[in-house]
Each structure stands twice: as structure tokens, then as C-alpha cells.
Assembly symmetry: C2
Homo-oligomer: 157 residues x 2
Amino acid sequence: MDAKTARFAYEDFEVGSVMTFGPRLITRGEIIEYATEFDPQPMHLDDEAANKSMLKGLSASGWHSCAIMMRMIYDGFLHESSSLGAPGVDEMRWMRPVRPDDQLTIRVTCLGKRDSGSRPQVGLVRFNLEMLNGKNEIVLQSSYSGFFGKRNSAATP
Amino acid sequence: MDAKTARFAYEDFEVGSVMTFGPRLITRGEIIEYATEFDPQPMHLDDEAANKSMLKGLSASGWHSCAIMMRMIYDGFLHESSSLGAPGVDEMRWMRPVRPDDQLTIRVTCLGKRDSGSRPQVGLVRFNLEMLNGKNEIVLQSSYSGFFGKRNSAATP
């Protein structure tokens, strides 16, 4: 979205600010469907195998949790932002299993921001991302930096 | 899989060894289907918007590339291993866009291994992961450590 009209342009992110999104239910059917396509390890597909695993019960693929986090962030604020993409993710910790029928929420904390070295109309915003379950336990923690267009830039993005 | 019978137990990973898997075609239809569900940013859905984006053409969601990498690693060796899961990923770099009809390969390099501090029957193996396109360009780079059961452990896993 053009930075001039976006609700969230580079200038709008305040260091230390926190946004929360959700809850979003994850179902057994979704967990099995995702795992069947992308991560068919028995602990994500089969109750008996899952009960014997380190995670002691059926759990979502960690990549499925990431995908749901992406969608929740998109719906939460990215779709109204001047986001231009992200070069990667700096860490990703699957801290607890995500279970069928968990109610997932996302907490996004703005850690910092800086101008792009090469493009004056663009800035980088750094976020800490946490996914929590219905018991308010952190199930996933990550941090990343994203490119955002500046509203008040003389140059055209 | 039980470490006694697995093709790849902890003992079988040699530091410096390289495994390659693929190629695996990614289609326009898959890219749009994944993005519609998990990452509906215009650059992953719509040619016109994508052409105007930083990536200059339709590209897969970075999380879709991760999901395909997971599946290729599973099919390549994890399903025949004593893998017990992974606590996370240490970095993830989306280095180049993944395009419709790219032929993707995965290169897995064993970086190191060590005993688990708390569980004598388990070890941690550290890998560098690279996804390459048909031009042999790295499109995704990541590293992670995974838990693997030991074949020659006195204790029962």
C-alpha cells in the first residue's frame, strides 16, 4: 500500500509500542491438513505416535504456527501498512507445542527502527513477535525486521 | 523412528557432510493457494501488483518456501531418521524471490553435533540449509539444530 495513504507507514511505528491480535482458533483438522502437505512427521498426524513423542500429544508443525502468525500479522496491521517485505527472520523459537483447539493470540512489540542505507524513501522496523495460547503461555517467539515506505519522503517509492 | 533401526541416527551425521534433495517444481497455482490462506500480500497473489513490488514479479511467500523446504528435508532424510524434533531456527534469509515454475533443490550441510546436556540418549545436530533455484542461485538460507536419538545408547529413549 502506498505510504501516503497507509494507516501504518514507517513514521507510525513507535519503539516500545505493543499490538495484540486474535484470538484465532486452530483446529485438529487444520493441523493434520497442513502436516499432511508440508510436515508429515507422526507427532503432527497421529495421536498414538504423538503421545509417545517428546511433545506428548498431537501438536501443530512449527511451520504451521509460523504461517498462522504471518496471517494474523497480515490481518492485524500489515494489510493497512506500507510494508515492502522482509529479508528474513533472525530467530524462531518453538517454545511449547501448539495443540488442537488452542486459541492463539499474537503480540507484536516494536524493538527499533532505522533508515535504509540505500533507499531514502524506505525504513527498516524491527519487531519481536510472540504467539500465545489460551493459557497465556508463549508458544512461539521470533524477531524480524521489515521494510516500510515512508509517508513523508520527498522521493517516490 | 526408533534410533536402533533408523537409517540416520545421531551417530550417522558426519560434520562437513552434504546431502542434496530435489528438484521439486513449484507452480503458480501452489504459490497463489498458499498465499491466499496464509500470506495474502499482493506480491504473492497478483501479477500487476507483484510487478510494481520490490521483487519485480510474482513470488512465493517466504513461509511457503520454508514449508516446501521442510517437506523436502522430511522426504530426503528425516523420515528415515531418529529425529525427535527441533527447538527452533536460528536465522532465515529469503535471499532471492522464488518464482512460479522454479525447480527447487535443497542442500543440507552438517555443521556440528553435540550430546544433549540433560538426556544421555539424545544428541543435537546442527545443519545449514540452503534452497536453490534452477539457476543454482541460493533463494533461502537457514540454520537449525535438531534432536536425534542415539543408536548406541544404553538408556531407552
